[in-house]
């Protein structure tokens, strides 16, 4: 023990943490309150317990809104995006990490530069590509195609950073034992990089689950909406159904928050493994 801390200091630490945590979770609890508050008029009361608890909002969301259809759309889009982008990112990151080939550095730098491309600039050409060339306007496949590639550069960078930390000697001994590159990749590298894969998979999933602009631009049929647009409609210009919105946002956020919490122990190791090395 280096310093003996005074009680005041300990108290102060806890006080700061509790206050900030309180501020952090207040909006979340507020939404819970609104969601369970039924159709009662909203008030400025700061209390987090609704005056009377009812499940009306949830009932309306499930019965009167196409919530389940939006949910299905979002699930399809997110899962397909995650799988395809993980496949693309791991293979590419492996090559960038383990092979020496002309264009390697340029490739990585060009991926980094793509992160600076303003998304809005690309929506118009992407729109043309998807709707005019591939004839996928209003279809979820179009969204999947775009989502899986937009999340790629970030995923490749994170994964490459992680792969770099796996000792090459492992592979060398596997090669001596007669394993092919493909086997090394699938049976040694991938199992060893679970944290990074978990994180990039989570981010791909969240990109697809949360994306708003592209979906709003590419989908026009209410039955094809993903959750973000559907929820936005609820508190759009013409009606503010805050109760319904709160209920559905809880339903939408739960899986993501759950996944996030499940993977959060990987957050630090997965994200920073490559960069801390500097």
């Amino acid at each position: 023990m280096i310093h003996r801390r005074s009680k005041f200091k300990i108290f102060l630490t806890y006080a700061i943490l509790i206050i900030i945590t309180g501020i952090t979770i207040y909006p979340v609890l507020w939404v819970v309150k609104v969601a369970f508050g039924g159709r009662s008029l909203l008030s400025t009361s700061l209390s987090l317990i609704p005056e009377h608890i009812s499940l009306d909002n949830f009932r309306i969301v499930f019965t009167q809104k196409p919530f389940l259809i939006w949910l299905r759309n979002s699930i399809i889009v997110s899962f397909v995006t995650t799988i395809s982008s993980l496949f693309l990112a791991t293979t590419a990151a492996y090559a960038f990490s383990r092979f020496k080939f002309p264009g390697q550095r340029k490739g990585m730098i060009s991926l980094l530069i793509t992160q600076m491309f303003p998304g809005v600039l690309m929506i118009i050409p992407q729109f043309i590509l998807i709707s005019k060339v591939l004839h996928l306007y209003g279809s979820l496949i179009g969204l999947v195609i775009i989502y899986s590639t937009t999340a790629l550069p970030f995923s490749i960078w994170v994964l490459k950073g992680y792969f770099d930390t796996i000792p090459i000697s492992l592979e060398e001994s596997a090669t001596i034992d007669g394993a092919s590159r493909g086997r090394i990749f699938w049976q040694i590298i991938l199992p060893l990089s679970k944290p990074a894969i978990a994180i990039t998979g989570l981010f791909s999933f969240m990109t697809a689950w949360n994306e708003f602009i592209l979906a709003a631009t590419f989908l026009d049929d209410e039955m094809k909406y993903t959750l973000p647009i559907g929820l936005r409609e609820m508190v759009g210009e013409f009606g503010a159904e805050w109760g319904n919105f709160a209920a559905s946002s809880i339903l939408v956020a739960i899986p993501v928050v759950f996944l996030f919490m499940l993977f959060q122990k990987f957050l630090v190791s997965g994200l920073t493994a490559g960069s801390v090395k500097g």
């Binding site: 092979f99 530069i113 809005v120 959060q264 190791s269």
Partner: protein, 598 residues
């Protein structure tokens, strides 16, 4: 190894078939099918309009024609041209929506009756009187007899489907790409390719050239002079653009001809240019080297190919196309116009968008570029200051092993990161709601007047800021926490033994060791915050009067609310340049400081 041979044979067969398909697609004209007869309402109403005019006027060609033209122009402002030849009134229009409408029942009924009267055997079928198919175009003249003004008049639908010279279409492109990928995969899998590398390389190269030339030069001039149309119509692009429909009323049924000229000049020029390049390429052995490299590193390229292909197609290509658009005046009406046209007249248009955006410097006008830029910079700086100070501060507090409930605090504190940010944004909009928002509730509790947050620029800015600070600090916290945990304890002990104060330890041990992890996070955070679309768009919506607009939301609104695509693209290019110079600047700075610490 027998299995390997089968693989090879299958692969070769697939390639040959694909190649044949590709050639077929490239050089053969797919015959346009005559779809369901359509044109409907449009033709019907025009014929009615004509009939009305005919009823009211005495028969005098010139006067009548002018009247008809005027009336039709008033009725249908999107008609591109009207032509009159030998008693026919032709209206050219390319509005696909109008074309797609089905013929109303009335016309079919009239037609059927008339055909019955004329003794037709199959009155259900509309009859094609005249059809002409040439190598590059198909013409259909379809006549419907209709009764107008007690006379049987025929409405003529002249449908023109023009195929481009060497009609490239998207299926050909895809076959080409599959072919390309297959070759790469084969190179990656096998060793037999080196023998044929030159052959395969040449085939690939020629195919590429054909494809490029086709994309560049798929242009046809349709000469409509014979019809007295005011202007010629140029068809550009893919097959779907190439249908034109003319509707007219015919008195005699002699077929019309349509002259089509291929614009071969650019085609020949491009071809010879690329041919010369190709020759140079071969003779200098560049291609030899090129394929040598690919074969040598085939495994690596096979691994990165799928990802790079996707990134190129959906990130780089749109980016380059977006930049090209920035030099045009594309808007809702002329969108998709000929890019080559714009760039061959570069002097006329060129930098107009940029000039218009940058010329007026006015920090009081909310829609002015410089105001928005200043606002965006202020927004980014303030956000990052809060993100870093809160994030690092919390990380320092949480890094204490003696702290109870660290995990619980950490989990609760990363909650904002976990919740979808559009939901966060909408929640905060609710929290700042004037009547029932919790923020005003707190103000009332403290005895202040409730504030109408979204009507003042300053308060609206604060709502955005609060939302984004809440949203962004967990990321910095997690990164800082990770870096702190990797700092060896011995360093702190050594520093304590040397008798340095806590403050000194912080500046001399913690900060330098935090830096390598924090710098990339800060750069990334800056770019994210600079382009933070969701918060602005969903919380304040850029209001009031666009005072809290960021550059990125401004650009989005220009493109998708005002449909000024060219202008919006130019706006985005400027944003990109700003960010890029920031990136270059910071990478230089970090390189410099890194050197100082090592």
């Amino acid at each position: 190894m027998v299995r390997h041979k089968y693989w090879r044979i299958i692969a070769i067969i697939v390639i040959v078939v694909l190649f044949a398909l590709l050639l077929g697609k490239l050089f053969n004209n797919t015959k346009a099918k005559l779809q369901v007869l359509y044109t409907g309402d449009f033709a019907y109403y025009i014929s009615k309009a004509i009939a009305e005019i005919q009823q009211s006027a005495s028969y005098d060609d010139s006067i009548e024609i002018n009247k008809i033209i005027k009336q039709i122009e008033e009725l249908y402002p999107d008609i591109t041209d009207i032509a009159v030849i030998k008693g026919r009134y032709f209206i050219a229009h390319t509005n696909q929506e109008l074309i797609d409408k089905k013929i109303p029942k009335v016309i079919f009924d009239t037609q059927r009756e008339l055909k019955k009267k004329a003794g037709e055997t199959d009155p259900e079928k509309p009859y094609v009187i005249w059809k002409k198919s040439e190598e590059n175009y198909n013409l259909y003249n379809i006549y419907f007899p209709v009764e107008i003004n007690d006379k049987i008049v025929e409405i003529v639908f002249l449908e023109t489907r023009v195929q481009t010279f060497c009609p490239i279409n998207i299926s050909a492109l895809f076959i080409y790409l599959i072919f390309l990928i297959l070759i790469f995969v084969l190179i990656a899998l096998d060793r037999f390719i080196p023998k044929f590398k030159f052959l395969i390389g040449s085939v690939l190269f020629i195919l590429t050239i054909i494809l490029i030339v086709n994309i560049i030069d798929s242009k046809l001039q349709v000469n409509l002079n014979e019809w007295n149309l005011k202007k010629d119509i140029t068809f550009t692009g893919l097959q779907e653009h190439l249908t034109q429909l003319n509707v007219g009323v015919s008195v005699d049924s002699e077929p019309l001809t349509l002259q089509i000229e291929e614009s071969t000049k650019t085609w020949k020029f491009t071809l010879s240019f690329i041919g010369v390049l190709f020759m140079i390429f071969i003779f200098t052995g560049a291609m030899e080297n090129f394929f040598e490299t690919i074969i040598k590193h085939r495994l690596a390229y096979a691994y990165i190919l799928p990802a790079m292909f996707g990134v190129f197609l959906l990130v780089f290509f749109p980016f380059i196309y977006g930049i090209l658009i920035g030099f045009t005046d594309y808007n809702l009406t002329n969108f998709g116009g000929d890019l080559i046209e714009y760039f061959s007249n570069f002097k006329n248009y060129g930098f107009n968008n940029f000039y218009n955006i940058l010329k007026v410097i006015n920090f009081k006008d909310y829609s002015n570029f410089y105001f928005t830029l200043a606002h965006t910079v202020l927004w980014t700086v303030l956000n990052l200051v809060f993100h870093i100070s809160i994030g690092v501060g919390l990380a320092l507090l949480l890094n204490d092993v003696r702290l109870r409930g660290r995990t619980a605090f950490r989990i609760l504190l990363i909650l904002p990161w976990a919740i979808p940010n559009y939901i966060t944004a909408l929640i905060w909009r609710g929290m700042f709601h004037k009547q029932f928002g919790a923020v005003n509730g707190l103000l009332e509790l403290l005895g202040f007047e409730p504030i109408s947050w979204f009507t003042q620029p300053g308060t609206a800015f604060m709502t955005n800021l609060a939302t984004n600070v809440w949203l962004g600090f967990p990321f910095m916290m997690i990164i800082a926490l990770g870096a702190l945990q990797s700092i060896p304890k011995e360093l702190y002990e050594a520093s304590a033994i040397d008798g340095s104060t806590k403050w000194q330890t912080f500046w001399n041990v913690t900060v330098p060791l935090l830096r390598p992890a924090m710098v990339p996070a800060i750069i990334l955070g800056t770019i994210w915050t600079f382009n933070q679309f969701n918060v602005i768009y969903l919380v304040s919506g850029g209001g009031p009067d666009g005072s809290t607009e960021l550059l990125i939301t401004d650009a989005y609104k220009l493109a998708f609310e005002q449909y000024r695509y060219g202008y919006a693209a130019a706006y985005c290019i400027i944003i990109f340049v700003v960010l890029l110079s920031y990136g270059v600047f910071t990478s230089k700075i970090t390189r410099a400081t890194k050197g100082a610490y090592e």
